[in-house]
Amino acid sequence: MIEVNELTKRYGDKLAVDHLSFTIPQGVVTGFLGPNGAGKSTTMRMLLDLDRPTSGSVRIDGKHYGQLREPLKYIGALLEAKAVHPGRTAYNHLLWLAASNRIPTRRVDEVLALVGLTAVAKKRSGGFSLGMGQRLGIAAALLGDPKILMFDEPVNGLDPEGILWVRNLMKSLAAEGRTVFVSSHLMSEMALTAEHLIVIGRGRLLADMPMNQFIDQNSRSFVRLRTPQPEQLLDMLSRNGMTALQDRDGGWEVENGDMARIGDLAAEHRVTLHELSPQRASLEEAFMRMTAESVEYHTGGSGTGAPAQQDPKPEPAAAWGANWKKES
């Protein structure tokens, strides 16, 4: 079990991680979600004792990472793709890693086969594509057959086939009872794989809960309306204590609106409706709303969070947020 307690990292006058506390549950895939620059990678580096915390602590089964003997047998981590000497072959890269933790050499061949790199094992890794580099990083993480796996943005730069492969791999690792901790800046990716969710923004904890609970709490529902008489519609709604916001396609959204009541009112006021439909906002949108504030504050609205403000496009009802159960 990994416990993070009041973890803080300051670079100069910038707080990258701000009193972060959470516990990573065992035996499931935990998604570590946040916009770019939220402090995910910094946190992961501190978990592995690569970066020294300004204050706070990380305990892995009660121990500091530096106290683990042969840590590869305990935690396998993929931090960044291609953290490999470009002149060394894939096989030799895994060989030195294995030697450092007294992992048998045959395991090198096993993990190479597992990630599908056997054919290029003796090729220098400098010529690898991003996807191959990512696979090599995953092979390195699996080398010690660890109970805990940590992946930082594992699908970044992968093609659709690679993404599917990583997704299935994470699920099968969790099914084997391993703890999988995976970071992403894409809610959609997490919705497909994670059972538990830890959301951070600007280095602070925003949510730490099971995925189901997150979905229940954050699936905003609203009624979508279309009309050729927008003025009459808005007038009618406001007189009845409802407000509507225009969406990108020229329709109107009434948050938590009662569809039957709106339909009745429209009939009563003789407002023509071309659409009256119940909608649920996507989890992506929920995530963006949750982190928008922190991103906005952090980047002055110019960074990755900007689309959240400019582009609150309500997705169709069949957005992935609705079908995550089918897929998993």
Binding site: R45, L48, D49, L50, D51, R52, Y65, G66, L68, P71, L72, I75, A77, L79, E80, K82, A83, V84, H85, P86, G87, R88, T89, N92, L95, W96, L97, A99, S100, N101, R102, A140
Partner: protein, 252 residues
Amino acid sequence: MFPVLLSEWIKVRTVRSTFITLLLTFVVTVGLGAVVCAVLASTWNTQPASERADFDATGASFSGIALGQLALIVFAVLVVTSEYSSGMIRATLGAVPQRLTLMLAKVLTVVGLVGVVSVLTAFISFFLGQALLGSHRTSLSDPGVTRAVFGMAVYMTLLALLSVGVAFIVRRPIPALAILMPFFFLVSPILNAVPKVKNVAHFFPDVAGRQLYSVHGNTDVPYGPTAGFFIVLAWSVGCVVIGYLLFARRDA
């Protein structure tokens, strides 16, 4: 400790740069020394009498080190900085979070490998140089000669150690080389030619090293081979210790 040492050894032997830089160290040091000896032997009679009087046959066969050491510095610097430039240091520290153990293993690997290359380079430079010097040669049984030849091997090994230390301090390959190469090739020789300044520059590692690997030594320099050894050692250990203190504290 042993698994970490084995791992560092695998790292060193599985990249081409190790082979290239160490071969270059050997070839340049031996080759240039041989050329200097051959030229000296053929122009012996035209040399001024004073030059002939304090001729150091051993030192002559080691002339190549002035250039050969540059390749050696590149080797030692790359062992450390290639981990940083590739980002591999994170994989390394993930596997071996005990930074002191890791650094010791790296240092021992470099010292062991360079030690072997240095002994070979020193003895082959010496024997080839002496063979080319003909009647002006010296032999290992002459006073101070065996010490000078081993001194050469020790100097080269300590120079590699110093470079490892600087590489841990600086972390990036280009700045590390930009500090070390001009220092040994330009700065130290120039400062050693400036009056007053040279009293300090005499304690630079390359000058101290020369006292260690020449039989007669430079009479300008106010210490002998033993002190020379300790001065080079102090530079090397100093750089490694500073390198460790920074390595232990810094984010990887």
